[in-house]
């Protein structure tokens, strides 16, 4: 890969497997596979790097537009910055999934609940810790209870 820039947080390189004339890869220096594992500094620098790469492609090769994308996976995170021109033959459109309004409502409610829960946990770390401990004790009690039942069940079902 042709190396373009690096600092303590990110590395910017030209792609060895280009999908367009002007394909740049911006990646964290650390071996990180998921967005959630990046520090605040890392994720903002990563996207600043991508945005500057897009601007450089616009200024230097006259790109008419750019796409910036990534997919988390089993390997290290890589942010692709791809220069676009009219009629370049690339198609980055998807066929929308048809969802009923009740499906949409269901997903919306679930996502909203998780958002509220995670924000509450972040703002009330002590209480969240206690709540988790209570849940873990309850779980242990349930497992214990199940174990007892199994013993009784085994005694009654013992074959001569």
């Amino acid at each position: 890969m042709n190396h373009l820039f690096s600092d303590s947080l990110i590395s910017i390189d030209l792609s060895d497997a280009p999908v367009s004339k002007g394909h740049i890869i911006v990646s964290p220096v650390r071996d990180v596979k998921n967005l959630i594992d990046l520090s605040d500094d890392e994720i903002s620098t990563l996207f600043f790097g991508a945005s500057y790469s897009a601007t450089a492609l616009f200024e230097l090769i006259g790109a008419h537009g750019t796409n910036i994308f990534l997919t988390e996976g089993n390997s290290k995170l890589e942010l692709n910055v791809v220069a676009r021109k009219e009629n370049d033959g690339l198609n980055m459109l998807w066929n929308p999934t048809e969802l009923s309004s009740s499906d949409m409502d269901g997903i919306f409610n679930k996502l909203k609940d998780t958002v509220d829960k995670l924000i509450w946990e972040r703002d009330n770390p002590e209480e969240a810790k206690k709540a988790k401990e209570v849940i873990s004790v309850k779980k242990e009690e349930i497992v214990e209870e199940k174990g007892k039942k199994n013993i009784l069940f085994n005694i009654f079902n013992r074959k001569p």
Partner: protein
């Protein structure tokens, strides 16, 4: 309704104001048009996409109207992507999906359909049939890539340097640290520094503030979960955290000594081989070279050779 003629006479600022006035996403944000808003803070909003690529596909956008990414001011820019981390976690926890895709289109040619800058966060599963990011590689473009490399490099270096300067920081060169080396350094700092240890025990937030003032420390603690580390530390009584007895590096700053020696070995791998194969000859070399003597000052040479051979085995 504005005519083509009127539009042509307008300044870029007037066109932007007009776009903002008619922007459907500004109306969604203000509540004029209903939407399924799953998250908002003072700068960022996330809504469910009504034409989703997969179930749970969301759009993340700044509350203020900016037409393209480069026009988003730095404070909003940072918040957008920091909240993206949080929202990727929300998608994974709720939908139990294995990963997410993030997609930005800058400009109509790239597929930007809205005059309000936004991007997509899409929950993904293995074999979900979504192939819009599986693009065909064209090896004919490789030579073009090589041709533009040096101008891109110059431009990016200037842009990144200016960015770091605007942020009031210094550009720190890349330091390759394996996770093991990082862990070792973190433990050494905690073991050797009583005050730092006490602060980390008491308040990981304050400890984070302290390390954010020092670029080297910031780099060493990069990605370390300070909350968890503080929790683990508090499970151990202070007297159990004893400084390990020095064996090889006997000076007042063993970590610095170690870094100095391994830097020398990186530059002179033959010297390392000599130390591992023949300690006596290595000592002879030392006696004739005062410059190398300085590097190996207060170091048990025999033990170092032993340790290096152990590692090799």
């Amino acid at each position: 309704m504005v005519t083509q003629e009127e539009l042509e006479k307008m300044s870029p600022e007037e066109i932007s104001a007009l776009q903002k006035q008619n922007c459907i996403f500004c109306k969604i944000i203000s509540g004029e048009i209903p939407s399924k808003k799953i998250f908002e803070d003072d700068k960022v909003v996330a809504i469910l996409d009504i034409r989703p690529a997969t179930k749970g596909h969301i759009l993340i956008l700044p509350k203020e109207h900016y037409p393209i990414l480069p026009l988003v001011p730095p404070d909003v820019f940072k918040r957008l992507f920091i909240q993206t981390k949080f929202l990727s976690n929300v998608l994974k926890k709720t939908l139990l999906c294995s990963s997410v895709s993030l997609f930005i289109a800058n400009g109509a040619v790239a597929g930007q359909q809205s005059p309000h800058f936004l991007f997509h966060l899409i929950p993904r599963e293995k074999n979900d049939g979504l192939t819009f990011l599986d693009l065909p590689v064209n090896s004919e473009f490789v030579s073009f890539q090589k041709d533009i490399a040096s101008s891109l490099k110059n431009n990016l270096e200037i842009m990144m340097k200016n960015h770091v300067k605007r942020e009031g920081k210094k550009l720190i060169p890349e330091v390759k640290l394996s996770e093991e080396e990082r862990r070792e350094k973190v433990f050494a700092i905690i073991e050797e520094n009583k005050d730092a240890r006490a602060l980390l025990r008491k308040s990981p937030v304050e400890f984070k503030k302290l390390i954010s003032e020092n670029d080297d420390l910031k780099n060493i603690f990069l990605g370390v979960d300070l909350e968890k580390l503080s929790e683990k530390l508090n499970e151990l009584p202070e007297e159990e955290i004893q400084k390990p007895k020095p064996e090889v590096f006997l000076g007042s700053d063993p970590l610095e000594q170690k870094n100095r020696v391994f830097k020398y070995f990186d530059e002179k791998p033959k010297a390392k081989e000599l130390l591992m194969d023949d300690v006596v000859r290595f000592k002879e070399l030392l006696s004739s070279r005062p410059d190398i003597q300085e590097i190996f000052k207060d170091i048990d040479i025999d033990k170092l050779s032993e340790k290096l051979n152990e590692v090799k085995k």
